[in-house]
């Protein structure tokens, strides 16, 4: 598999590199929506967002924020768009997860806005329900360690106890997301 971004790192590409450290790389591509667009990607090869470890996702986002700030000031931009095209179906071209920072000014003739398709009320209701249900299922998988294919993180009795607790709270709380809730 050929990866344009890994080529940049191995020095086989002329694409200019602005910044790199052990986790994140910042480059300027020559295929862009508008000149001034900057690309951020993780140093290690991951094809889609879901494969990237949490720390690296958040690090990429922090760097994207810094790039966005720099772009505001340097190009006198009036706005920025941050775009992740995740997966071939979303128009991702290079098979390496990346974040694009696109500087914007008023009337720049760049159309990045989608057409909206209003959903009927009942369909919205079912969408919410399926999403919530899947969220809970995912928690169960992680609880039992199935997702990682490893030993259960908790003993079965503990899982049952948590299940009971969760039922009490009428499924309000969410174990997986509790674990990523690191901020007070």
């Amino acid at each position: 598999m050929e990866c344009e971004y890994c080529d940049i790192l191995s020095g086989n590409s002329k694409i200019p590199l602005i910044y790199d450290d052990d986790a994140v790389v910042v480059v300027v591509k020559d295929m862009v929506y508008t000149p001034g667009q900057i690309t951020i990607f993780p140093r290690n090869h991951f094809t889609i967002l879901e494969q990237v470890p949490d720390e690296i996702v958040s690090r990429c986002m922090l760097v994207a924020d810094k790039v966005s700030r720099a772009v505001f000031e340097v190009f006198q931009a009036e706005g920025t768009n941050i775009l992740i095209q995740n997966g071939l179906g979303a128009g991702q071209i290079v098979p390496h997860f990346s974040i694009e920072v696109i500087p914007r000014i008023e009337n720049d003739n760049l159309n990045l806005r989608w057409d909206t398709k209003p959903l009927p009320e009942d369909e919205m209701e079912t969408t919410v329900m399926t999403l919530e249900k899947t969220l809970q299922e995912m928690d169960q998988e992680i609880l039992a360690g199935k997702a990682a294919g490893e030993k259960p993180i908790l003993e079965k009795s503990e899982v049952n106890k948590i299940d009971a607790d969760a039922a009490k709270e009428k499924n309000r709380d969410n174990y997986l997301l509790k674990s990523i809730r690191k901020i007070p």
Binding site: Y19, D21, V32, D65, G79, T80, L131
Partner: protein, 305 residues
């Protein structure tokens, strides 16, 4: 940062939506008032006007999908596709540069998990994750949020297309941004490059020399690269010392001599081992076909091959 924020708020007409309902004179009064306000007061004023803050406070109904102490994910009322989500921090921030690092970190991790759930539920082929900062970028509400849009092959969410602008433009962009970005990122970090690591490996204890030469060199030395392949002799450290040749400065690592390469004797290029990756990924595809499971994340990633 504060200067920048104030300048930004002026450029962002919808950030104070009630302004459009005022007469010219009232607006001028307000503008005078805003100029005297501190950034904190400005933020407070914005917050009072913000629909999304009212959604967080449950004063306005919404379809909540996920909630924790920091952020909230709701269904977009004007979706681009079924399952279009908005992920917003509960605290009021108008644009991304205002969002504190801790919150941004948390929000990006939640984005990852929500995207994973969207892929599973909507059977999408991918997700588009989109943030607009400022009215010029198409931001319509004054609260920072992230769009998560499930995508199916062939649909159009981002109508614009990328075009080739040439390397010259790219280099110009680099030189313009580089300094500012490095200041913001707190300088360049030292990374342990592969070259440094390979020096520790025992096989680099080998040296090269030409049949008639009086000195021996490491493989990386420019002299070594100028030796024509047919005359090149590879020696172990002991052999090199016994042969009566003297070590080049490159051997002790003190100094690598600067020599122009002789045309015609090109240095060898290393090739990245790509083959291993391909065979592994193909295996996983074959496995999945056998098992007949529904599309997993790997399948989505494998669509590229």
């Amino acid at each position: 940062m504060n200067d920048f924020l104030i300048r930004y708020l002026y450029k962002f007409p919808s950030s104070l939506s009630f302004m459009s309902e005022l007469t010219e004179e009232q607006r001028k009064q307000w503008e005078e008032k805003i100029k005297k306000m501190s950034p904190e007061e400005l933020q407070q004023l914005q917050k009072q006007q913000c629909v999304f803050c009212q959604i967080v406070a449950e004063k306005v109904p919404s379809k909540k999908v996920y909630e924790d102490s920091t952020c909230l994910a709701i269904l977009d009322i004007n979706p681009a596709a079924k399952g279009h989500l908005l992920l917003l921090p509960k605290e009021h921030y108008a644009i991304m540069p205002q969002v504190p690092e801790q919150v941004l970190k948390h929000v990006s991790i939640v984005t990852k998990y929500l995207s994973q759930i969207l892929l599973k539920v909507t059977r999408a082929d991918g997700t588009t994750i989109f943030i607009a900062n400022g009215a010029a970028a198409g931001q319509r509400a004054q609260h920072f949020f992230i769009h998560l849009i499930p995508r199916k092959a062939g649909d159009v969410v981002i109508p614009a297309e990328e075009r080739l602008v040439g390397l010259e433009t790219a280099v110009k962009v680099k030189t313009t941004v580089e300094k500012k970005l490095l200041i913001l990122l707190g300088g360049r970090k030292e990374i342990q490059k592969e070259e440094v690591r390979t020096q520790l490996l025992p096989e680099l204890e080998m040296f090269v020399t030409s049949g008639s030469a009086k000195r021996y060199h490491t493989n990386k030395c420019p002299f070594a690269q100028n030796i024509p392949p047919e005359k090149k002799v590879t020696l172990l450290k002991e052999e090199a010392e016994k042969s009566g040749r003297k070590p080049c400065t490159c051997v002790s690592g003190k100094r690598i001599p600067l020599v122009k390469p002789i045309p015609g004797s090109k240095p060898k290029k290393k090739k990245e081992p790509l083959l291993k990756k391909i065979s592994e990924s193909k295996q996983s595809i074959i496995l999945k076909k056998k098992n007949g499971r529904e599309a997993s994340l790997d399948d989505i990633a494998n669509l590229f091959k």
